[in-house]
Symmetry: C2
Subunit: 78 residues, 2 copies
């Protein structure tokens, strides 16, 4: 059974670079990857915060948040 | 042909968590992953800096650095 991986971003240049490399580098045999643009889908900001996401881009693997670089604070998306 | 992925860390708790999840989540069909403990192998700090690594843990994919969370500044390892 595949694990869920969620990549949250906000369209910033570092987000796009991270999406194209880190998110797409995950093993497709083991992960179902969902890409969420929080700038366009602000209703999911609360969901991201609930699992510990503090900035974007962030990758949530099996419920654990990993912040990649520092793109934009979630505060700016509210 | 596989791409080279290098995961630099320094043994800190967040590094270990990132190693066990992010680094191990990469597609083994596409990436050869090398794990480098910079605290135990300080001669490679300069190599990490040369590709833009500023803190650990960091994942270098196809030569591009992605910083994961913020564990320890490279300055502390010199």
């Amino acid at each position: 059974m595949k694990s869920k991986a969620i990549f949250y971003h906000a369209g910033c240049p570092v987000c796009v670079a991270a999406e194209q490399t880190v998110a797409s580098a995950l093993d497709p045999q083991r992960f179902d990857v969902e890409i969420v643009h929080l700038g366009e889908n602000r209703r999911r900001v609360a969901e991201a915060e609930a699992v510990g996401v503090k900035s974007v881009p962030a990758l949530v693997l099996s419920g654990a948040p990993f912040h990649i670089n520092f793109g934009a604070s979630l505060e700016a998306l509210k």
